[in-house]
């Protein structure tokens, strides 16, 4: 844990900020960010773009003793710049005070923190030649041209990011947030019809490209997505309605993240369906008693962040335990008002942004899940049907739809509406029939109360980017391989009347 980080180089800047804090008798949070990024973009066997990004800078959030806040940031990191930014931020904070704006003194109650997190990486940024990365990606992309009707795009991103968060109270914490992914997009075209599907493999380093087990996993996911795109060219549409559903872990991640996690973030508690008069409704029954929802950093995960952007350790939180709302995702500035302890949930996209309460890795865990021995990638819709019959979760001839893959989602936390989309829908049966993707929408609490069973072990590598308040931060999560949801009038599949 003694390895040096790039952000260690800014001790003089840190000292200058601390000196300013003492001189002005105000509190502050200084965030220093260093990021290097590699992006590969390939289309149909050819490299279209290789781009590098280099970013560094600092932002300082100043808080007067009365609790008024100002902020300033720059892409220069040096003692004179931090002094200048400090003065600008303080001037703006005083402007807020003059306007009788919002005051929040939580910064003065945070415990000091000097944690340092160096993530061990097997294949970090710079460990493999760019030529080899490109060669492997081209080979992968070409290997997925399974049919002349398919166009295949591969994107690979590798991010080497470090943060240092310093406060007036002696806090000086540094941590890494490395991440990587390979994302394949398949577009099938035939006779004027098109269908697009996706698959991905997230990680923290180049293992996703260099470890045979990882590349094999990605290949299996890719072949499945490619075949689905081709099959969708001839698929019909599902009649809209309420059905018994099976969703895979990627869709379950979206359910947890979009439909529930955002509502549990304490900085929006004034308008959340999980809040009452601005306070989290702890003890409220929100889900089936077999359901727990957990959020927290997982080392090796795409969205790993061990320390918050306010310099507080990020905790693993049981938001829901056995169906009962237990805790919120609370950052420093909103925890008290929401009536919950701080859990270190503050995250920021970059040094230029003010942190918000955010998720990291969120997962739905179900009591006594039915075991599945095989890997998730091996479970075809046919096998899923067999498992559903074997476990008694469906009867022969019962109308059950399996929603496979995800294409994102959106939620209105104030009203509890959610919308997700999947890559394709199968009517389960001895010969499952594929239908066009359709939205899966409804009321958050209806969906969580409808969860009847989990199938298989936990799988929590579904990745995404959360765009709350126009700040993009990596997110991830999942559930058991599959969740079974009972038919519920509050959950609707599709929107067409056919």
């Amino acid at each position: 844990m003694t390895r040096s980080l790039r952000v260690d180089a800014y001790d003089e800047t840190v000292e200058a900020a601390v000196a300013m804090g003492r001189r002005e008798q105000v509190g502050f949070i200084l965030r220093i960010q260093e990021k290097k990024e590699l992006l590969f973009n390939l289309n149909n066997g050819e490299t279209e773009e290789i781009a590098t990004t280099s970013l560094r800078g600092m932002g300082i959030q100043v808080c007067t003793p009365e609790g008024y806040t100002g902020f300033a940031s720059s892409d220069r990191i040096d003692p004179s710049t931090v002094t200048e930014l400090f003065q600008q931020a303080l001037k703006l904070a005083k402007r807020v005070e003059a306007m009788k704006g919002e005051a929040n003194k939580a910064l003065f109650s945070a415990p000091p923190n000097n944690r340092r997190v160096v993530v061990p990486l097997k294949y970090p940024y710079g460990s493999c030649s760019l030529a080899e990365i490109e060669e492997r990606l081209v080979k992968l992309n070409k290997s997925l041209a399974l049919d002349p009707r398919l166009s295949v795009r591969t994107v690979h991103r590798l991010v080497d990011e470090e943060w240092r968060v310093v406060r007036h109270d002696g806090t000086d914490t540094a941590f890494m947030t490395p991440r990587s992914f390979i994302y394949n997009t398949f577009t099938a075209r035939e006779n004027g019809k098109t269908a697009t599907t996706y698959c991905n493999l997230p990680g923290t380093d180049l293992s996703i490209l260099l470890e045979p087990a990882e590349t094999a996993k990605l290949y299996k996911r890719s072949v499945r997505a490619a075949r689905m795109a081709l099959d969708l060219l001839h698929a019909g549409t599902v009649k809209s309605g309420s059905y018994k559903l099976v969703i895979d872990y990627a869709l379950a991640k979206v359910l947890a993240h979009e439909a529930f996690g955002h509502a549990a973030e304490t900085d929006e508690m004034e308008s959340s369906i999980l809040g009452e008069n601005g306070r989290l409704r702890r003890g409220m029954e929100v889900a089936s008693p077999i359901v727990s929802i957990i959020d927290g950093p997982v080392e090796g995960d795409y969205a790993y962040q061990p320390v918050s952007a306010n310099g507080i350790d990020r905790q693993t939180v049981y938001i829901v335990r056995d169906g009962i709302l237990e805790a919120g995702l609370a950052d420093l500035f909103s925890a008290e008002a929401a009536g919950v302890p701080v859990t270190g949930a503050g995250r920021a996209e970059s040094y230029q942004h003010l942190p918000l309460a955010r998720m990291s890795n969120i997962r739905i865990q179900v009591k006594d899940p039915w075991p599945i021995e095989e890997e998730f990638e091996e479970i075809t819709p046919e096998k899923l049907y067999e498992i559903m019959l074997r476990t008694g979760l469906m009867k022969e001839g019962e109308e059950v739809y399996y929603l496979s893959g995800f294409k994102g989602g959106q939620v209105n936390s104030a009203e509890g509406n959610f919308v997700f989309n999947c890559a394709g829908i199968y009517l389960l049966g001895p010969e499952p029939r594929l239908y066009q993707p359709a939205i899966f929408s409804g009321k958050v609490l209806s969906a969580l109360r409808a969860v009847r069973a989990g199938l298989g072990p936990l799988k929590i590598d579904a990745m995404g980017t959360c765009g709350k308040m126009a700040q993009g931060v990596p997110s991830s999560g999942g559930s058991h391989y599959f969740l079974v949801l009972d038919k519920n009038p509050g959950i609707m599949l599709g929107g067409e009347g056919r």
Partner: protein, 440 residues
């Protein structure tokens, strides 16, 4: 900016024609640099400038560099200020990330692009330290909206100054300043609207923004019941229509997607000027309009701004083309739409008045917001979305808010002669009315 740009130019020019240790020879370069300053402040839950919306001043110098090497090799990198401090290390990385691209573009020859006015004195004054107007917008917005009975007002003001420099080794040197301004006001987590231009709003525009947001939220607080499910008239308000145009039309007009067979439109469709939409519909980009948010003087590659029809009288004209995809498709590069659907110009010979149309509407929905648009397959054109903020209209009267799922085919919307385009108050983009399936 010019100092940074001049120093970078000098460093790059010394390398031109030289064979480097990696074996690469630099034959040309271009860069697009931005030196930006932003002032941002917000109101959250009626309170100005709390820990999530604190006033902030941000400074950054960043941009993109593209190096042209011998043997059709190219390097693209996003750069920031320290590139000059650590030039050799960056150069070594750029050499390593060079890739072969047979469709790599030529550099643009020097020219003087259109002198579009894009920097507003009022905005510049704020960034020079006269912060008061930024706070005043929020205070006034708060007052106007609470006057409509709004309990929870959220808002944001962002004023920027961007000193931009686009240059290349052929001698192109385009430097200009622009001042993008964005003001958002919303209420009760139901609805919000945005002003976005490269200037400050005048008093009437600002008051209009706050009053529209306040009025709409007030309407959305009244509840109604959807009388039936099935096909009915659906009106997308301009901001929702723009979001549809961005997701479906602009995605499929992307030169990259067309060239790589990932669009609903094939390259041949453009060559044949295939008729895809109704014949009175023309959709263009126009980057030449003074102080418009979507205006600019040239693209990052140096292609001049201009007006370009993407769809003319219902027929495909051109995809949106950067130099690379223009070369790949054997077409001319185009102006680039900025700010998605908001940056498109919709031309129609006839638009009906929104208020007049509404007064005659027997039954229908006005849609102010949809959830899940980004999850829809852009290439298929079909949509199935939750319209979470919609007003039910019956016999010309607004009944109140209903939550519905709407489904249809956006390509058919643009193709159908039955689609009605409506002049919407304060907006350049029309509202659009068509028939779609509506469910609870």
């Amino acid at each position: 900016m010019s100092v940074f740009g001049e120093q970078l130019q000098e460093r790059l020019n010394t390398l031109l024609g030289k064979r480097l240790a990696s074996g690469l020879t630099l034959t040309g370069w271009r860069f697009d640099l931005h030196e930006t300053e932003d002032l941002e402040v917000g109101v959250k839950n009626n309170k100005i400038g709390g820990p999530y919306t604190a006033p902030g001043l941000k400074q950054e110098s960043s941009g993109e560099i593209c190096l042209h090497w011998e043997d059709e090799k190219y390097t693209i990198a996003r750069i920031e200020r320290r590139v000059l401090e650590d030039f050799q290390a960056h150069l070594e990385l750029w050499e390593k990330t060079a890739y072969k691209d047979p469709y790599g573009p030529e550099l643009v020859k020097p020219y003087e692009p259109p002198a579009v006015p894009l920097a507003h004195e009022g905005a510049t004054a704020i960034l020079n330290g006269e912060f008061t107007p930024a706070f005043t917008y929020l205070a006034e917005g708060l007052e106007i909206m609470t006057g409509y009975g709004i309990n929870k007002v959220d808002g944001r003001v962002k004023i920027s100054r961007d000193r931009r420099l686009v240059a290349n080794s052929e001698g192109l040197w385009v430097a200009y300043e622009q001042t993008p301004v964005q003001i958002y006001l919303g209420g009760d987590d139901l609805f919000g609207d945005v002003f976005a231009e490269k200037r400050l709003p005048d008093q009437e525009e600002f008051t209009g923004l706050a009053a529209y947001a306040g009025r709409t939220v007030r309407e959305l607080k009244k509840r109604a019941t959807l009388p039936r499910e099935g096909e009915m008239a659906v009106i997308l308000t301009p901001s929702v229509f723009e979001a549809f145009l961005e997701h479906y039309l602009l995605s499929n007009l992307s030169g990259r997607l067309v060239a790589n067979r990932q669009s609903a439109f094939a390259a041949q469709d453009f060559q044949e000027a295939k008729k895809v939409f109704r014949e009175d519909l023309t959709i263009s980009v126009d980057g030449t309009r003074p102080y418009r948010y979507s205006s600019y003087r040239c693209t990052g590659e140096g292609v001049p701004t201009g007006r370009a029809d993407l769809v003319r009288e219902g027929r495909l004209v051109t995809p949106v083309l950067t130099l690379k995809y223009a070369k790949k498709l054997g077409m001319e590069p185009t102006a680039i739409p900025v700010a998605g659907g908001y940056g498109l110009v919709i031309d129609l010979p006839q638009r009906e008045s929104f208020d007049g149309f509404l007064g005659e509407l027997e039954e229908g929905l006005i849609v102010y917001s949809v959830l899940g648009l980004h999850t829809q397959d852009y290439s298929a054109g079909k949509f199935s979305l939750v319209a979470d903020q919609s007003l039910l209209v019956r016999k010309g009267q607004i009944q109140g808010k209903v939550e519905t799922v709407i489904a249809g085919d956006f390509w058919q919307v643009l193709a159908s002669e039955d689609t009605v385009f409506l002049d919407y108050p304060r907006e350049e983009t029309p509202a659009v009315c068509f028939r779609a399936h509506v469910a609870q």
